[in-house]
């Protein structure tokens, strides 16, 4: 029997008459990587906002490891293991790298937050930059710091909003392979929103395709790639 660590049922977010997300169902099994693709404005980031509690649901329900977290705020969901990174790099600009990662770990009530922070920094190749202020980091390093802040405290679900945005092809492929290994090693399930098709189809166990706030296809990468509706709606000639 599969174990859903994350289950979003009939999630909808409407802004007046605009249905940004409309009746989406998504699940994540333990250790699974689910790629989420779709054209710009399809509602991918809004779904992440909905699941993490950043935006209020018009209707629907979010469950984390069987617990209904719909009524909980961002902080409570994070404490229960629901973590995210941001489309636009979101770090603490004036703080040294290690200090902010250690703080994030401490806020997750990790007993040895210093060791947890060191572990994550090492995992992401940031251990040599612990004393550097975040604003002085290179862009790729800031992306990894964003990921480090999401990874501390051993979350069970990681929602990544275009983690490869702005990275070179090589950096993207490196990070993608690293993500795959990391998800397995840290026993974290990943919902990956990403525009880079090679990355999504390369590391995802399952892929979901969005269009106009609705799921139009979902399944194993090969099946989704072959889906005529997906090819027509999104992949086009790139398929």
């Amino acid at each position: 029997m599969s174990e859903f660590v994350l289950q979003a049922d009939d999630v909808a977010i409407h802004y007046g008459g605009v249905k940004a997300v409309d009746g989406v169902c998504l699940t994540l099994e333990r250790g699974q990587i689910r790629g989420l693709i779709g054209p710009n404005g399809a509602g991918k980031s809004t779904v992440i906002d909905a699941i993490t509690g950043r935006r209020k649901l018009t209707r629907g329900r979010v469950q984390l490891r069987g617990e209904d977290v719909t009524a909980l705020d961002v902080v409570e969901r994070r404490r229960r293991g629901l973590s995210r990174s941001f489309q636009r790099t979101s770090v603490f600009g004036q703080m040294p790298v290690r200090r902010q990662v250690e703080l994030a770990s401490h806020k997750m009530h990790v007993s040895d937050s210093a060791a947890d922070a060191d572990d994550v920094l090492q995992e992401l190749g940031l251990d040599a930059l612990g004393d550097v202020t975040a604003a002085d980091l290179g862009y790729g390093e800031q992306r990894r710091l964003d990921l480090a802040l999401a990874l501390v405290g051993r979350p069970s679900v990681l929602l990544l909003d275009e983690p490869m945005a702005g990275l070179s092809v090589k950096e993207s492929m490196d990070l993608a392979q690293h993500l795959k290994a990391l998800a397995s090693r840290r026993d974290v399930s990943v919902l990956l929103v990403e525009h880079d098709m090679d990355v999504v189809f390369g590391i995802s166990d399952v892929v979901t395709v969005f269009e106009l706030g609705r799921v139009i296809a979902s399944g194993e990468p090969a099946a989704v790639r072959a889906d005529a509706r997906v090819r027509e709606a999104y992949l086009g000639s790139a398929a």
Binding site: F86, L103, K107, G125, H178
Partner: protein, 331 residues
């Protein structure tokens, strides 16, 4: 900053203060006392900017009201002077915390305008409550013969008054440095830098911001009590927005990134006032040019410029430059 460094700086600063008190005349010490009191005021205002990224245009509210609370409590004989001092500082801290829970939610310039409005509300109230506060004429504060066991007449001598204010400044600086090097400092910096991200690492962002606002008010109210002790008088002018403006100038000139920057700014302000005041009645115009110069050439103030020079010297001595270290490859 390590505890040992904080302790060393505290020791050195106290020694410097004692030397100044012993070597200088009453006139110089009176000026330095005033500068030190405003240094504490600016320290409180700078703390709000440093830890919350918020600019208050109404902090004179806490400065002036501290004096009024002591004055009124003594006039009504409601509390002994020591109790009145504690009540003023704690009362204003609590008031600022509750007020902070509301006002720190307001972002940017609106926060500044809100603090200005609240400050002016207190100014007008003090100006018009003639029966209680003496109205626009202000009120004399009836200090008792002894304060915390020491004869008030001795405390009010220029050297002991300066030393009292200086010790207060140094201890507040040391206390804040100690507090901010810990978890409270990290949390408030994180909230200041990126409030949304802070929530996503599990920080509730309202309480830390209100706590900084309260702490800032507490420091400023200590300055208000010391000013009331120094002059024996409090008037609505001490609540006026222009007093907040002067303190803000000190923060900008001194620089707020370094904890001690605003205190340095107060020193520079009073030094400029004393020196330039001898040559020009409109000395503020000259100080204004100095202010513009600092903002243009060192937006982080004099303290920021000094820190940059120190960092360059350190880098010259072999410290690696920030941001040039290369990460190890992803593994």
């Amino acid at each position: 900053m390590s505890i040992r460094r904080i302790a060393s700086f505290t020791g050195i600063a106290l020694a410097i203060g004692t030397t100044i008190a012993l070597l200088n005349s009453g006139t110089v010490l009176s000026l330095l006392t005033q500068a030190t009191i405003y240094a504490i005021f600016a320290l409180g205002l700078g703390l709000l900017l440093r830890q919350n990224g918020m600019v208050s245009f109404g902090h004179a509210l806490f400065f002036g009201t501290a004096g009024y609370i002591v004055g009124i409590l003594l006039q009504l004989k409601a509390l002994p002077a020591e109790g009145a001092i504690v009540a003023a500082v704690l009362g204003l801290t609590l008031f600022a915390f509750v007020l902070g829970l509301v006002v720190v939610r307001v972002p940017g310039i609106a926060f500044g305008m809100l603090t200005l409005a609240i400050g002016q509300m207190f100014y007008l109230t003090a100006s018009r409550s003639r029966g209680l506060t003496g109205g626009a004429d202000g009120m004399n504060i009836d200090w008792p013969a002894t304060l915390f066991g020491a004869p008030t007449s001795v405390l009010l001598k220029p050297d002991s008054m300066f030393l009292l204010c200086w010790v207060a400044l140094v201890l507040i600086l040391a206390g804040l440095a100690f507090l901010l090097r810990g978890r409270f400092g990290s949390i408030t910096e994180a909230v200041r830098d990126n409030e949304e991200r802070a929530r996503f690492i599990g920080i509730r962002t309202l309480l830390p911001r209100a706590a900084v606002f309260a702490l800032s008010a507490a420091v400023t109210s200590v300055a208000g009590v010391l000013s009331a002790l120094n002059t024996g008088f409090v008037s609505p002018e001490s609540l006026h927005w222009s007093v907040s403006g002067v303190a803000l100038m000190m923060v900008v000139v001194g620089g707020y990134r370094a904890l001690w920057g605003p205190a340095l700014g107060a020193g520079v302000y009073f030094l400029a006032k004393d020196i330039l005041g001898d040559y020009a009645s409109h000395w503020m115009a000259i100080f204004g040019i100095a202010l513009i110069t600092v903002i243009v050439f060192s937006p982080e103030g004099i303290a920021g410029a000094l820190q940059r020079i120190a960092t360059r010297r350190g880098a010259g001595a072999g410290t690696p430059c920030i941001g040039t270290a290369k990460p190890s490859a992803l593994h």
